[in-house]
């Protein structure tokens, strides 16, 4: 059964369609980049799958069942800028929030949860920052705390919203290592990504999106100039035709 199966999903804000009739399913154990211009609905797609924005139509299935029945199988990394990092809490506490979905009502995180959270922090190289107030962390460190929180969710399918934005080189490397490790464990990861130059290097599969789905498949097959032009329209330029490295004119 496919980890993510979406058919005919349409999302509209104030009658303006943001996503139109998106239909796709992805195989298990792949790193999938979701790529498209600003306003293409990349984040909205993830939010629609997780039930954070209402869909006007369409169905979402995670391993054959609606998302609500499969919450524990899904891990989520929101955009770093979506929360207030001045909140009075430390890194370990934020990672522990990844356990909340497993704990249930009226209970507190226990020793086992703390152990899982510490392991997750260790995996992203943040163990020594466990007690650090989150506003005292750099942007890259905050992003790693968010990744550790998703790891603590112990999920099978992961959705990550722009994890590479505004991070340092060390964090970028740590994220890539982590993505590959998740893949090696047979997990499926969907990542909203905006840097076209690294798509081929990072992702096995690519979903090209611009309100409608342009293409989905193995990166070497779908990440073509033709498809990119369809996705980005006139905004795409090519630095060097020989190495075929596309970039977006801002």
């Amino acid at each position: 059964m496919n980890p993510v199966d979406i058919s005919n999903v349409t999302v509209a804000y104030d009658r303006k369609p943001v996503l139109q009739e998106v239909t796709f399913n992805v195989p298990e154990g792949k790193l999938i980049g979701i790529v498209g211009p600003n306003g293409a609905g990349k984040s909205t797609l993830i939010k629609a799958i997780l039930g954070l924005v209402p869909t006007a139509s369409g169905t979402v299935r995670i391993y054959g069942k609606p998302y609500k029945a499969q919450r524990k199988l899904v891990g989520y990394v929101p955009q770093r800028g979506s929360v207030d990092w001045d909140f009075p809490t430390n890194a370990l506490d934020v990672v522990l929030m990844g356990r909340y979905g497993h704990i249930g009502w009226f209970k507190r995180p226990g020793k086992k949860d703390t152990k899982i959270a510490m392991q997750a922090l260790d995996k992203v190289g943040m163990k020594e920052y466990a007690d650090r107030q989150i506003s005292q962390l750099s942007g890259g460190q905050q992003q790693r705390v968010f990744l550790a929180r998703a790891l603590a969710q112990d999920a099978t399918v992961y959705f990550m919203d722009e994890p590479f934005v505004g991070v340092d080189a060390a964090t970028e490397k740590a994220i890539i290592a982590l993505l590959n490790e998740l893949k090696a464990q047979g997990k499926t990861v969907l990542v909203v990504h905006h840097d076209l130059q690294t798509v081929k290097e990072y992702f096995d599969w690519t979903l090209l999106l611009n309100k409608r789905q342009v293409a989905l498949g193995p990166t070497e097959e779908v990440f073509t100039i033709d498809n990119l032009q369809k996705t980005y329209g006139g905004r795409l330029a090519f630095l060097d035709q020989q190495v075929n490295q596309p970039f977006v004119q801002q």
Binding site: R71, Y76, T89, W105, Q153
Partner: protein, 294 residues
């Protein structure tokens, strides 16, 4: 217990309850919504009286709870349908409060409540309005009501602590893992409403906002841990109440006004002196950076 002790106890209960609930308002950036609710509960109190023909605490709590939720709900509705959120609060709060004032003036003869009392509170009279059951004098009824509300607040925060925490910090994540963020929002709004109405008699609608916001805002400057922030806020609430009472005694001034002023004073001192977020700390940090580089 002496007259003064009852007033201090009443003020302290207001300080603890408001201080704890207020922390969440600050973290969720909803201080102005508390201001709105503290005024609209007047409508709840008047309606509760008109329905029940009694000024018993329990009717007041239910009436205020319902109107508090209505306020939060209307603000949410206007906000999501395109009205600016601060304008939405302004519209809802003044309309419902005005309705409360009209009803109060229309039935003024029958209701033992006046606008001035509702706005400013009168903690001085608290000790004489006692709760009597079977002829037994059990102490001021305000103390009973405040105690009940405090215990209710503590129980709710204890049981829903992690849900309140995650939905305050990261509502999207909370929703994704199945936490009913909207339910938590209205739960907090109910807590604000009943805390407000219970504190109403003692400090009034305007100063209850000071007790809700100022201790939490002060505690926010002093700690990086949520649980400690709640404790500090409660302590500052009590300190304001006790300090306010004695200051009022010394200078023969309004007790409620003096309590709110002490809270403001504590905030001012903290704002300047707090080692982490205070002005002094920032100046020192800047100076140490500039000496390192010179």
């Amino acid at each position: 217990m002496s007259y003064g002790a009852w007033i201090i106890l009443t003020g302290s209960l207001v300080g603890v309850s408001c201080g704890i609930v207020g922390c969440f308002l600050i973290l969720r950036k909803m201080a102005m919504l508390a201001d709105a609710i503290s005024h609209t509960v007047l409508l709840g109190i008047v309606l509760a009286y008109l329905v029940s023909h009694s000024l018993e605490g329990i009717y007041m709590l239910v009436g205020a709870g319902i109107i508090g939720l209505l306020t939060a709900f209307l603000v949410q509705v206007l906000d999501t349908s395109g009205v600016q959120s601060d304008a939405a609060i302004g519209v809802v709060f003044t309309s419902l409060f005005a309705l409360g004032v009209i009803l109060l003036s229309a039935f003024a003869g029958k209701v033992h409540l006046d606008v001035n009392h509702a706005l400013m509170g009168e903690i001085t009279f608290i000790p004489w309005d006692t709760l009597t059951i079977n002829g037994m004098d059990l102490g001021p009824s305000a103390v009973w009501m405040l105690g009940f509300v405090l215990i209710l607040n503590l129980i709710l925060i204890f049981f829903f602590y992690k849900e309140i925490k995650i939905s305050s910090f990261d509502p999207a994540m909370a929703t994704a893992i199945g936490i009913p963020v909207i339910f938590i929002h209205y739960l907090l709004m109910s807590m604000v409403s009943i805390t407000t109405v219970a504190s109403f008699d003692s400090v009034g609608a305007i100063l209850v906002v000071a007790m809700l916001i100022v201790p939490g805002a002060t505690a926010y400057l002093l700690t990086d841990r949520l649980i400690i922030m709640l404790c500090i806020s409660a302590v500052i609430g009590v300190a304001s109440a006790v300090g306010g009472y004695y200051a009022a005694l010394a200078w023969n001034i309004s007790i409620s006004g003096s309590m709110a002023s002490i809270a403001g004073l504590i905030f001012g001192l903290t704002f300047i002196l707090s080692p982490k977020h205070g002005l002094l700390g920032k100046v020192l940090a800047r100076r140490s950076i500039s000496t390192q580089h010179s």
